[in-house]
């Protein structure tokens, strides 16, 4: 395992980076495929909201073949089982270069530790297959943590991302300068 991968994994999965980033994020709201909001307008029945998420994910992938046959991968499991972290790891880890172009569940947002029965189903594209005839899509049931602190947590997230990148860059530079050779893989 090279050092860069190690640092990247740390950024991806280490709880210290995940902490503090709570609340509902705008980016995550955007990933909603269908959901029933807690608070509803005055009518007889609750409404299920469905977004055209699949179509928008498809249109976001440039140079994709004209006709695609989506393959859906659903993640289910109890709250706290780590679904969102896993989806995030699958998207980010396999295609670190495409980080900017593809959305992934945000760290610590999805409520895995928060007991609530109202959930949304979010949909994310798999960067590796997005431009193929059979693109994979990850769907997970997530619980919005709360509808408060949206602005603040958004800033924290950006901050974390920047720190993580800066950390990654400086440590890699430092390591290359000081050791003149990559760290040996640890098995």
């Amino acid at each position: 395992m090279d050092f860069k991968t190690y640092v990247f994994m740390k950024w991806l999965l280490d709880v210290r980076y995940l902490e503090g980033s709570t609340g509902l994020h705008l980016d995550d709201l955007k990933a909603t495929w269908f959901g029933v909001p807690h608070s509803q307008s005055d009518s007889e029945y609750p409404q299920l909201f469905i977004w055209n998420k699949l179509r928008s994910l498809v249109s976001e992938a440039a140079d994709a073949p004209q006709r695609q046959y989506p393959s859906l991968v659903s993640f289910i499991g109890a709250t706290g089982s780590g679904k969102s972290t896993l989806i995030r790891a699958l998207i980010r880890m396999l295609e670190p270069v495409a980080r900017e172009d593809y959305d992934a569940p945000l760290p610590g947002v999805n409520s895995d530790m928060f007991v609530s029965t109202s959930s949304d189903v979010h949909l994310y594209a798999d960067p590796r297959t997005a431009k193929r005839t059979a693109p994979l899509y990850f769907a997970g049931m997530f619980t919005p943590k709360s509808h408060i602190v949206i602005g603040i947590s958004y800033l924290i997230h950006v901050y974390n991302l920047k720190t993580a990148r800066a950390f990654l860059e400086t440590t890699t530079q430092w390591q290359e300068k000081r050791l003149h050779q990559p760290l040996k893989p640890c098995h």
């Binding site: 509902l24 977004w51 046959y69 859906l72 289910i76 499991g77 089982s81 396999l94 029965t117 509808h147």
Partner: protein, 350 residues
């Protein structure tokens, strides 16, 4: 890009609010005040493409005032909340049924501390919800059990997915619950010898993958990273395999069909949560709203129109549809024959 757009949208909104004299009730005259989460959420809700009413759902009458900011009169006026029982139904029945019907692969994420009996019960319940009320689906999804956050000892024993799968199956076979399920399927006329047979009643393929708890020690971090890669590979393999199968049944859906089938299924479940998702029926009814893409869809549309013309959808008579197909076969066969170009070099059709 999208984040930038949203940020600028927020800024625009907060500027507008700051200039709005009617917003005097705001308790915090802060320059940096962002739009309330309610604003953002309601704006997001407006972009939804479909909003079916859940006829089996209930809303509470009481309004929890503590959730509403004083400066947000729009939300405070008419808001009602979804009651707890309805929310449970949404999460445990509505979503699972939709996802099961449309997934190629289902990943069940489980922290390995729990008992496998409990886990399989959940899984079979989930599959029962989906499978037994999904008609003409023909291809069941594949199942991957992800033992997430495994402890070191658990992961050492289960690091090989094939061995882990076998171990899990053997463990389940030793439980009394397995024998109950065996009896149930025997009554239905299906022999279930092993736990694998049982799983195959609901899922097309089955794998277990363990992912060790992340730790900052490099060897463990490496294991975690490798396991996640293995998981991805297994998902890809399984999805490829199931897609091939789907293709062979002519059930692969392109993006627009997928979308419209999914929406149709959701609308159906919104009316009655216990109703069956019938792919055949969805396909038939989708002829109304969009043009058929494939040959099979054209045929189906023709047939469903003829069913209506002959009044077969109104009567309980048996055999009408079979007669219709009989009548159509010759016509369709001659249409196909007319399209085939004879090869000039031989007397045979190419």
């Amino acid at each position: 890009m999208a984040r930038k757009e949203i940020t600028s949208a927020i800024e625009a909104m907060s500027l507008r609010e700051a200039n709005d004299p009617s917003d005097a009730s705001s308790s915090k005259p802060n320059k940096l005040r962002k739009p309330t989460p309610g604003d953002i959420i309601s704006r997001h809700l407006e972009t939804a493409s479909e909003r079916p009413y859940l006829r089996w759902g209930r809303l509470t009458h009481s309004i929890d005032q503590s959730h509403h900011r004083p400066g947000d009169p729009r939300r405070a006026r008419n808001a009602r909340r979804v009651n707890r029982e309805t929310r449970t139904k949404i999460v445990t029945q509505l979503y699972p049924r939709l996802l099961y019907a449309f997934s190629d692969v289902v990943c069940f994420v489980q922290n390995s501390t729990r008992e496998s009996e409990e886990m399989f019960d959940t899984l079979f319940d989930w599959a029962k919800q989906g499978h037994e009320k999904t008609l003409n689906q023909r291809i069941r999804p594949g199942l991957i059990i992800v033992l997430n956050k495994s402890t070191e000892t658990v992961h050492d024993a289960l690091s090989n997915p094939d061995k882990a799968t076998e171990k899990m199956l053997r463990a389940y076979e030793s439980l009394s619950r397995f024998r109950e399920m065996q009896r149930m399927w025997r009554k239905r006329g299906r022999r279930v010898e092993t736990a694998r047979d049982l799983i195959h009643c609901y899922y097309y393929a089955f794998k277990v993958i363990s992912i060790p708890t992340y730790s900052s020690s490099p060897p463990v971090a490496n294991q975690t990273s490798e396991s996640i890669k293995t998981l991805y590979r297994k998902i890809r393999d399984m999805s490829d395999c199931i897609r091939e199968k789907r293709k062979s049944y002519n059930m692969d859906l392109d993006t627009s069909s997928f979308n419209s089938y999914m929406e149709k299924a959701a609308k159906k479940l919104a009316v009655d949560l216990n109703s069956a998702i019938d792919f055949h029926h969805i396909q038939m009814s989708s002829g109304d709203s969009r043009l058929p893409n494939r040959f099979s869809e054209h045929l189906l549309q023709l047939m469903s129109n003829m069913v209506r013309m002959r009044g077969l959808d109104q009567s309980n008579e048996i055999g009408g549809e079979a007669q219709l197909v009989e009548d159509l076969i010759r016509y369709i066969a001659s249409c196909i024959a007319a399209q085939v170009q004879p090869n000039p070099d031989s007397s045979k059709f190419s």
